[in-house]
């Protein structure tokens, strides 16, 4: 989970990391009152997903604020700071080495992966989760900063590590960290990524994650553990696992099918989420649906009965369903299949299932044209 700009600064402040003072503006009224109160005449405007803009005049600031408010966007406005130099500082989990590291460099960094080892300085964080003094000294020496900054740099490192480990972050990146002309460090903005898998241990973070929740169909389904998308075609696909979904896409494209809406279910809780996913796809009114869903032998009959009940009582227009179950044989459930009111085909090989689904979607498309 990535925190947005405002949440990042809030969290950093909570851990006493020196941040550049900022104002959050989410309406014209708030903007107006802040400008009056603080007599803002110049500043840096920060909008999520856009480059920061330095506004040298009050008119320019006001124009930016009005424009953002008209688009219902929040802005962070901060004063322009007199900077001596900039440095790069990050604390992150290096998945290759399986360890937490601190990275630092002189100046801003544009593409970390392209940097040479003499440009990007690294220290591994020991098991005790604090850097040793010699490690901090090594990082500081490489940066060639004024001596007056040393103590505050060391303190900043300690506080960032405290935040990183206590909140189980995967990344804290400050790019750039400002060193002011009076030898103070301050953070204008940062990127913080928190481990989603650890959120159950951090109830305070769940407040942030709720704030970041969106309201589109994709986001709503994602919150339930389903991956949803659409490629604009007319064949809907429901599969278990993203990997298998991609594999079905490969086959559908080979058979000149047109992929429409698709959903992948997580492999563990698939049975509960199957009905939500199926409903979501039926709502999109595809011409046919390909469902790839493994059901164990003992549950096959009851699953098909449930599916039949679901479809027969739904208000959706019946469309061809092709069911691929990775089974060896489905003969034991012939009686159940024959009582479906929806046109359902069961295939035992993935190749036939995809061919059948593509064919059915095409037939429905032409049938719709004729109407």
């Amino acid at each position: 989970m990535y925190l947005n700009d405002y949440q990042t600064l809030l969290l950093l402040s909570r851990f006493k990391v020196p941040v550049v003072p900022y104002f959050l503006i989410d309406s014209l009224e708030k903007g107006g009152s802040l400008f009056k109160k603080h007599e803002l005449t110049r500043g840096v405007v920060q909008e999520e997903g856009r480059e920061d803009v330095v506004c040298e005049t009050k008119e320019e600031l006001e124009k930016r604020v009005c424009d953002a408010c008209a688009r219902n966007r929040q802005l962070l406005v901060r004063p322009v700071v007199d900077v001596d130099c900039e440095i790069y500082l990050a604390v992150l989990l290096d998945a290759t080495l399986r360890e937490h590291v601190v990275l630092t460099a002189r100046g801003r960094v544009h593409e970390r992966s392209q940097m040479a080892s003499w440009e990007l300085f690294k220290e591994s964080i020991p098991v005790g989760k604090k850097l040793y003094t010699f490690q901090k000294n090594s990082l500081f020496r490489n940066l060639e900063l004024p001596e007056a900054v040393r103590a505050s740099y060391f303190l900043l490192l300690d506080r960032l590590l405290e935040l990183y480990f206590s909140q189980e972050a995967l990344l804290i990146e400050i790019n750039p960290l400002l060193v002011t002309v009076d030898s103070k460090l301050c953070v204008p903005k940062a990127i913080i990524q928190i481990d989603d898998y650890a959120l159950f241990r951090h109830s305070e973070m769940s407040y942030f994650s709720k704030k970041n929740e969106g309201h589109t169909k994709k986001q709503a389904l994602s919150q339930q553990g389903l991956s949803y998308g659409s490629q604009g075609g007319d064949l809907g696909v429901l599969a278990v696992g993203d990997d298998f979904l991609f594999a079905l896409f490969d086959l559908i494209k080979k058979k000149k099918g047109s992929i429409g809406s698709f959903i992948s279910l997580p492999e563990r809780e698939m049975e509960d989420l199957f009905w939500i996913g199926l409903q979501a796809l039926l709502e999109d009114q595809m011409n046919a649906l390909l469902i790839s869903f493994f059901v164990g032998v003992q549950n096959r009959e009851s699953f098909l009965k449930k599916l039949m009940a679901f479809l027969n009582t739904s208000h959706f227009r019946p469309i061809p369903l092709v069911l691929y179950t990775q089974a060896v044989s489905m003969s034991s459930v012939d009686a159940v299949l024959s009582s479906f009111h929806w046109p359902i085909t069961v295939e035992l090989t993935v190749d036939k299932a995809v061919s059948e689904a593509v064919q059915r979607a095409r037939e429905m498309k032409y049938a719709n044209f004729d109407r």
Binding site: L93, A95, T96, R98, E99, H100, V127, F165, E168, L170, D195, D196, Y197, A198, F200, R201, A239, V240, G241, D242, D243, F244, F246, A247, L248, D250, L251, K254, E267, R268, S292, F294, G296, V297, Q326, V328, T349, V350, D351, V354
Partner: protein, 270 residues
């Protein structure tokens, strides 16, 4: 000699709590897996499904000689369970838990070697006809010569059905799951398959990172005794590049999941 587990493996279970866990355990026992003990703090001396329960892994190992641990443990307690199993020097640990916090795994790896952990986010291992430690339905598999490593259960079932249909069967199959910090690496597992006498073809399925692909290519150099078949998925751009690189390294790459069985049979006859 199958990799990781076989008919002589003595298994231990940890963290069995829910009905679903008990069902999976029952299925493993019905398949023929030799579970010799279970860990349930506070229940020493009791039994679950006829299997004696112990307080700690050390105690269980001393009394039963167990060699493999299957962790059904939930993510809140998984770090402790993993460390306990690693400190007890079990030869293989199958971690079925999903979405393990990454900081916990970094702590585990910093304190002990990861070379015996299958998972996290694994669905388990099966050596057909001998032993099953996981969630996969045993009836889909047949004893044979194809070693399968998959990133997802669905791919594994597909590959198992196809290779069984082609009369090849499987030597050992495992699902490593998609997790940023796996224990046993893709290359380590491929190497185990390569050294396994029973495995004649190695089948690698699912999503791979570019780094994993490069490591596989580096490992593959000079190893031509056993064919390797790969089916990789992911975003179109990265997959095209990966498929090309793997093909250039001498790995047989298919772009069609319905051809896993036929291609495995074909490369075996080369």
């Amino acid at each position: 000699m199958p990799i990781l587990i076989d008919s002589s493996s003595r298994l231990l279970f940890q963290g069995v709590h829910s009905e679903q866990d008990i069902y999976q355990l029952q299925q493993c026992i019905a398949y023929g897996s030799k579970f010799v003990g279970g860990i349930a703090p506070g229940k020493r001396g009791q039994e679950l499904l006829g299997i004696p329960l112990f307080e700690t892994v050390q105690e269980a190992k001393k009394k039963t000689g167990c060699t493999v641990s299957v962790l059904f443990t939930q993510k809140a307690d998984i770090k402790e369970a993993l460390l306990e199993s690693l400190y007890s020097s079990l030869s293989c640990i199958v971690c079925l838990c999903e979405k393990v916090p990454l900081h916990d795994m970094v702590d585990v790896y910093s304190l002990s070697s990861c070379s015996r952990i299958v998972g996290p986010s694994s669905s388990g291992i099966i050596t057909p006809g001998q032993c099953k430690a996981g969630r996969m339905p045993g009836y889909l598999f047949k004893e044979g010569c194809v070693g399968i490593l998959s990133s997802s259960e669905t791919f594994l079932y597909e590959a198992a059905i196809q290779t069984t249909k082609e009369e090849l069967g499987q030597s050992t199959c495992l699902v490593q799951g998609v997790y940023p910090l796996p224990g046993l690496s893709l290359v380590a597992i491929a190497d185990l398959f390569y050294k396994d006498v029973a495995t004649k073809v190695i089948l690698l399925l699912g999503s791979m990172t570019d780094r994993q692909v490069q490591q596989l290519i580096d490992w593959k150099e000079g190893k031509n005794l056993k064919p390797i078949v790969a089916y990789v998925t992911g975003s179109e751009e990265s997959v095209l590049h990966q498929r090309r690189s793997l093909t250039q390294a001498g790995i047989f790459v298919t772009e069609n999941i319905s051809l896993l069985g036929t291609l495995s049979k074909k490369v075996l006859s080369l």
